[in-house]
């Protein structure tokens, strides 16, 4: 399968500031990739390079088989959808008029407009002016705009900022539906717990460099972070605080519960002993979350790299 997005040693400099440092990245068709990183890590720069809004200082960018900042841009731009981070649409126009305007500019069938509004749940508010919309409705209008013309590639910059949990779930369900139709999705987010179930791979950026890239399982293996095992029972505390393996740390939680920090390779040994221990009533396994992984991978950064460099 050919790569939808192909970055080879891409560097982008603005004066002395290195926004992106020799990034290699390949995204294949139908994949959902999350771009993670602190402010100024290079997430938005990466998106702008894909969109052709910026040109690389060094290296080569190819999107859907061509450079996005050259002659290929015209065809490319009709086949991709983009939702910028902070966008407030024309408040004087109705949701339907806004979408109709963008549909004309993208030269796609304007019959899609009503269908898309229904799909993002704005059908009932289509004739209301955008200034009466809530933050969530505006964000959904933005998504509808990005979906115009059935794009092959979708770029969503912080799509769930300001959305409540239910709206966030709806949003990601739409993304999942798109992936099933073969659309490639790139989304950046710093709301980590939300994105986990919906992504195939994550790219963790820091200070313009690639810190890690892979599926959640890959990243867990790479990081080899301990997982947490919680055991609950009447006499749990007394029996389970001592372990032969020095890497296992046990903390008593509240009288009848013990939290164990366990390296991945010792997981089964621990579980065996727990199931064999009389008095243990419940066992809970908590693998490291994306948040833990993110903290782990960005731990090596100096404070100024982690700061809010713009």
């Amino acid at each position: 399968m050919t790569a939808v997005i192909d970055f080879q040693g891409v560097t982008r400099r603005d004066g002395d500031l290195v926004r992106l440092d020799a990034l290699d990245l390949e995204v294949s068709e139908g994949e959902v990739l999350a771009l993670l990183g602190h402010n100024g890590a290079g997430k938005t720069t990466t998106m702008h390079l894909i969109l052709g809004l910026l040109s690389p200082s060094e290296g080569r960018v190819a999107v859907l088989g061509g450079a996005p900042d050259g002659a290929h841009a015209e065809t490319l731009r009709r086949r991709l959808g983009y939702l910028p981070e902070n966008v407030s649409f024309y408040a004087q126009l109705s949701g339907r008029e806004v979408l109709d305007y963008f549909a004309r500019l993208k030269r796609v069938d304007r019959g899609q407009v009503d269908e898309l509004l229904d799909r993002v749940g704005l059908g009932h508010a289509a004739r209301r002016r955008v200034k009466t919309y809530s933050k969530g409705m505006r964000q959904r209008l933005g998504l509808a705009q990005a979906l115009l013309g059935d794009p092959r590639l979708l770029l969503l910059d912080e799509p769930t900022t300001g959305l409540d949990p239910a709206a966030t779930r709806d949003f990601y369900d739409t993304v999942r539906g798109l992936r099933e139709r073969g659309c490639t999705v790139l989304l950046s987010s710093h709301v980590l717990p939300g994105v986990e179930p919906y992504i195939d791979r994550a790219l963790i950026l820091g200070g313009g460099r690639r810190l890690a890239l892979g599926s959640l399982d890959d990243l867990r293996q790479l990081a080899a972070l301990p997982l947490t095992v919680r055991a609950r029972g009447r006499s749990a505390e007394a029996d389970l605080t001592h372990w032969d393996d020095p890497r296992i740390a046990a903390t008593a939680v509240n009288g009848h519960e013990v939290a164990l920090s366990v390296p991945p390779d010792a997981k089964l040994a621990v579980l065996r002993r727990l199931t064999g221990t009389a008095g243990v009533e419940d066992i809970e396994l908590l693998p490291p979350t994306l948040e833990h992984l993110y903290t782990h991978f960005s731990a090596g950064l100096s404070p100024e790299q982690r700061g809010d460099a713009q």
């Binding site: 910026l54 966008v87 407030s88 024309y90 126009l93 004309r104 500019l105």
Partner: protein
């Protein structure tokens, strides 16, 4: 071309929605009728005086108002969309920056054109109906010239507003610069020229040419010099006499005053980073 029309249509609809068209037309009509009616106030009377005085007064009104309206209408054309985030989005659409800016110019130009024609048109109608003994042919010609040149003057300042709008990154700064531009062209230029006129003792043949450096003086030249009866009231522009200042030539120069800043704005917009 289609994209240009789409953008122009959206801008025009915006203008109708936020009542720019209505507001401009009302202000112009109201002030114009007022000027026509109280034209004799200076000489202690009330009512319509003469067509010439009225047209001169209306042209003076246009000199102050039209540039201000045009600048206010268009100063945020680019920087406003930039602050809203829609500019970034539009730049990822299959349209060129030239199309975007020209579409906006067409839209804003139409808003100003429609509002000016409506406002001054209503005033002309009121004069035709209300005032006695006005030669209708002359009135129509005078008002037509006034409306046409006002629209052209408005476009000049829309182009200036775009030049400001593509140059700055904050809306507030664009608004401030727009006011500075208005102040320079409408007030300071006249004062400077007057001072120069007084201080140059002899051989000031080149002075009239300086008038062409200001689109507002071009507008005055078209209206005051172009209209026979207004000659007595032409004030500063009376230093300009002769072939090179015929209305047709001056109109061409005014058109150049639209094209040059618009061209510069286009150049700047195409070159700058997103």
């Amino acid at each position: 071309m289609n994209a240009i029309l789409t953008i122009a249509g959206k801008e025009f609809r915006d203008g109708l929605r936020n009542r720019w068209v209505l507001a401009i037309a009302l202000v112009l009509a109201f002030l114009a009728v007022g000027i026509a009616w109280f034209g004799a106030a200076a000489s202690g009377g009330l009512g319509f005086t003469s067509l010439a005085t009225t047209l001169v007064s209306l042209a003076t009104l246009a000199v102050f108002l039209i540039p201000l309206i045009a600048l206010l209408l268009a100063y945020d054309a680019v920087v406003g969309e930039q602050e809203a985030g829609t500019l970034l989005l539009l730049l990822t659409y299959p349209i060129s920056r030239t199309q975007l800016l020209l579409g906006k110019f067409l839209g804003h130009g139409l808003i100003l054109g429609a509002a000016t024609a409506l406002g001054f048109g209503v005033a002309g109608g009121v004069i035709a109906v209300g005032a006695e003994g006005v030669p209708l042919g002359e009135l129509a010609a005078g008002m037509g010239l006034l409306i046409g040149s006002s629209i052209l003057l408005g476009w000049v300042f829309i182009a200036f507003a775009y030049l400001i709008s593509v140059w700055v990154t904050e809306k507030a700064r664009a608004a401030g610069l727009a006011l500075v531009v208005w102040f320079l062209f409408v007030l300071v230029f006249d004062l400077g020229l007057l001072a120069l006129l007084v201080s140059v003792k002899q051989g000031g043949d080149w002075l009239p040419w300086l008038l062409l450096l200001n689109p507002i003086e071009c507008f005055r030249l078209i209206n005051l010099a172009g209209f026979e009866a207004a000659r007595d009231y032409s004030g500063l522009t009376s230093i300009a006499e002769g072939g090179a200042f015929r209305p047709a030539v001056v109109t061409t120069i005014l058109v150049a005053w639209v094209l040059v800043p618009l061209g510069l704005a286009l150049l700047r917009f195409r070159r700058r980073a997103a």
